[in-house]
Point group: C2
Chain length 478, copies 2
């Protein structure tokens, strides 16, 4: 049975990466466009990935002591204005509700772009004593940021996310929480999404509106463009003071608590597509794949084949997410279909296999065929899924490494920015003027982060030549 | 150890049911108010109930073949207007977004009050052949309906819900789906929430805007007021025609599919409170209780007590949702606290119990004490939780039965409406003018539903005396 492509072809990555991306999200039936500008319909296959992401992350949040809550969708304009850096950052990109039913509202309400101010308003009421701390809350919801150019999952006017908002007795505890959640994200990227990333701190210029420090996960897409994969912010007690949140401390004095927030969104699905996908479509990490194993019967009209395939489905369904495709489509069509949908493993079973008490597992990532005895089927599937996970992680890591370049001089920086898509590691003086200059000169290369593991690449800033303070990862971003 | 009340008392139900309700939602820490009019903050304990409800219902939806999706939060005004009955029903109560960032929108967007039109717009694109049917989609999200008077969980400008929207090849299949999902709700109410209800069909006057038929679950609150607990709608092909949804049928002709929608919301938490609660606070059905068992150590300063309590927590945690309260608060305070929070079972363990290798289980619903051997602890807890479920269901059923009255005449109807809160069963001619008249005469008694099991209570309408068509359940509602 030839593995030739029988479903309508998609644009190749090399030809047009952007069109390849759009083809994949449409043909794999992840999203559909709607008549609402910049908003997407997340279809069953796309939403099932999000549900698997949610379950995994939610477990991690609960194991680290967090509780889920739900805050209102709307923020009154006066509430948004209570913290001035925050409102300056978000006001230009929010949607405003001005009318409720037949009446014009006396105060405009914005649709939440993020919920710091709502959490603060609530915390002001429920935090009174050090005994009420820490408060470790998280919320799963949708948020709205009015975007001019949009792209499914990567940038849309509405998206789904989780936002954690916590309050702590001391600055140290809040800083620890900020780091803890950054590492929860980094572990999740590695263990669940099979995506390696650079982690580090955002520069002053790139940090979250109102935060004292922002930490970030920066994975590298297949085409050398970076993506902000998740952020964790430390706020100090700035918001707490603006919102009058106080507690009686252990020493009986009135104090302000220290705050964090952290979030990841449906944008992660965009990262999965662009990190693991190939010219045959999606490649899904086994842990979030809605279908982990697609059973394709071979010569299914022959006696006993469909019965055996159904038995295998029954047998594997308790342990894995399995689909049996016993439709009339040809086996070749089915191969292409489940490749397009990124199903990590295909199981082929035909008359000869049945005779030999075996079946064939085919890996999506490298098309390796594994002949396995039906006696050890569960173990073999388990191992093959792990092999796919490890394989795509390794491939993504090599891509990240291959697309990370070092610039020692200004000229080198500009040359790499122009000719070699990817991260550029280079020294920086700490001045945001140099960030602005480099961005302008390179048509959009920005500082991604100051990595936790800095290297010494020289003594001077790659832009201005003044003494360097940090090594920074730079790159274009989605 | 006296079980006297040590936490701040709540208003009694008899004294002021409405204040009792507000006290319970606040003191059990289910919700908090926010500065956004009519919107509530759902606190961790309240949200955990919602999560348990979601898991249970989502399983039921998936077992009946449904898939989750996510549609946009916004609906353009022109899209909402495509089905005229529907827009007439919802337009007066929606919130309008008129500004995005700095720009005034050329077309207003309403924040979804329900998503029929968005599903229809999408279905028009993805349904082409009978092979694409049925489409069985569900969405978990928040919706907004601009309410003038609000009450936590019962009526709020924003609430959380699920909305199922399905498309079928034939009218029969769609009608079957409408009934299937109504019964999924009814089973869920009985088996999970321990709430009995009357089920039946809404009258023309009370049906959903744009539906051909609406079916409903009507539980009875403790105070004799009814609540619309969940609805399932059959639409025929009306929306499909308005939205140009067609498919090529088995006979190769172009046809319109038949549609349903069905939903339940956080209002169910209001029903739980008002059906099961008592003067000591919440009483939670064991299947959705965030804490199923609270362990209260007795004489916890005595050697070995806290260790034993911690062992029991460890032992039970794999199977039940358990909290051990080893705080310094008195045992009496803890008893009241977990009663207020509606925890179905309390486990007391003290030095004498340890000596006898036993502990005491105390049921929240009737305070029955059960002395159980630690050797059979898991079985005993399991049985006691089931006993609480059965006990509160039985009590709720008796309340529903005791608060259901029969009116044979107009005078009888008005007398019951005035003096005996609850359902009134009475014959009706089928004319909505009689519904209007009875509502006006009784200060708000409306038809709840035409039950599936009608009784013959006479030959004439209780209002106008003309020939009766149906027996109807009537009542005031939240």
């Amino acid at each position: 049975m030839a593995e030739k492509k029988m479903v309508e072809a998609i644009t190749s990555m090399e030809e047009d990466f952007s069109k390849w991306y759009t083809d994949v999200v449409k043909k794999a039936e992840l999203v559909d466009y709607s008549s609402v500008k910049g908003c997407m319909v997340i279809r069953p296959y796309g939403y099932a990935i999000w549900e698997n992401i949610q379950h995994d992350l939610d477990d991690r949040f609960k194991k680290t002591g967090h509780e889920n809550v739900y805050m209102p969708l709307f923020i009154p304009e006066s509430l948004l204005q209570r913290e001035k850096d925050h409102v300056a950052g978000f006001a230009p990109e929010v949607a405003w509700v001005t009318q409720g039913g037949d009446e014009k509202l006396t105060e405009r309400l914005c649709v939440r772009p993020t919920s710091e101010v709502l959490f603060c308003e609530h915390y002001a009421k429920v935090i009174n004593s050090y005994r009420d701390l820490p408060k470790l809350y998280n919320q799963w919801c949708s948020v709205v940021r009015w975007e001019k150019t949009t792209r499914p999952f990567l940038r849309s006017s509405e998206f789904l996310w989780q936002e954690g908002h916590t309050m702590h007795e001391t600055a140290e505890e809040a800083q620890e929480e900020t780091m803890r959640m950054l590492h929860v994200y980094a572990d999740f990227y590695k263990e669940t999404l099979a995506i390696p990333a650079v982690i580090g701190q955002k520069t002053e210029k790139e940090k979250f509106a109102g935060a004292l420090a922002t930490y970030t996960i920066e994975p590298m897409m297949h085409n050398g463009v970076a993506l902000q994969g998740g952020t964790s912010h430390y706020f100090g007690d700035g918001f707490a003071k603006s919102f009058g949140i106080t507690f009686t401390g252990r020493d009986n004095t009135l104090q302000s608590p220290f705050q964090t927030s952290w979030g990841v969104s449906t944008r992660m699905i965009g990262a999965i597509i662009m990190v693991h996908g190939d010219d045959n479509g999606l490649v899904l990490p086994p842990k979030v794949a809605p279908i982990q194993l697609a059973i394709v019967p071979i010569a299914q009209h022959k006696p006993g084949v469909l019965e055996k395939a159904a038995q295998l489905k029954e047998r594997l369904s308790g342990k894995f997410r399995v689909k049996l495709d016993d439709s009339d489509n040809s086996a070749g069509w089915k191969f292409s279909e489940y490749e397009m949908k990124g199903v990590p493993l295909r199981l082929e079973i035909g008359p000869k296999d049945i005779e030999k008490n075996q079946c064939v597992l085919v890996r999506r990532d490298n098309r390796e065929k594994i002949f396995v005895s039906l006696d050890q089927l569960e173990e073999s599937v388990e191992q093959a899924l792990q092999a796919v996970h490890d394989g795509i992680y390794q491939k993504a890591l090599e891509n990240l490494q291959n697309k990370t370049h070092v610039a020692h001089t200004h000229e080198e920086f500009l040359d790499i920015a122009k000719n070699q898509p990817g991260f550029i590691k280079a020294m920086w003086c700490g001045d945001s003027a140099c960030e602005d200059k480099l961005k302008e000169e390179t048509n959009g290369v920005k500082s991604r982060c100051i990595p936790f593991e800095e290297e010494h690449l020289g003594d001077t800033c790659v832009c201005c030549g003044k003494p360097a303070k940090h090594m920074v990862y730079w790159g274009k971003q989605y």
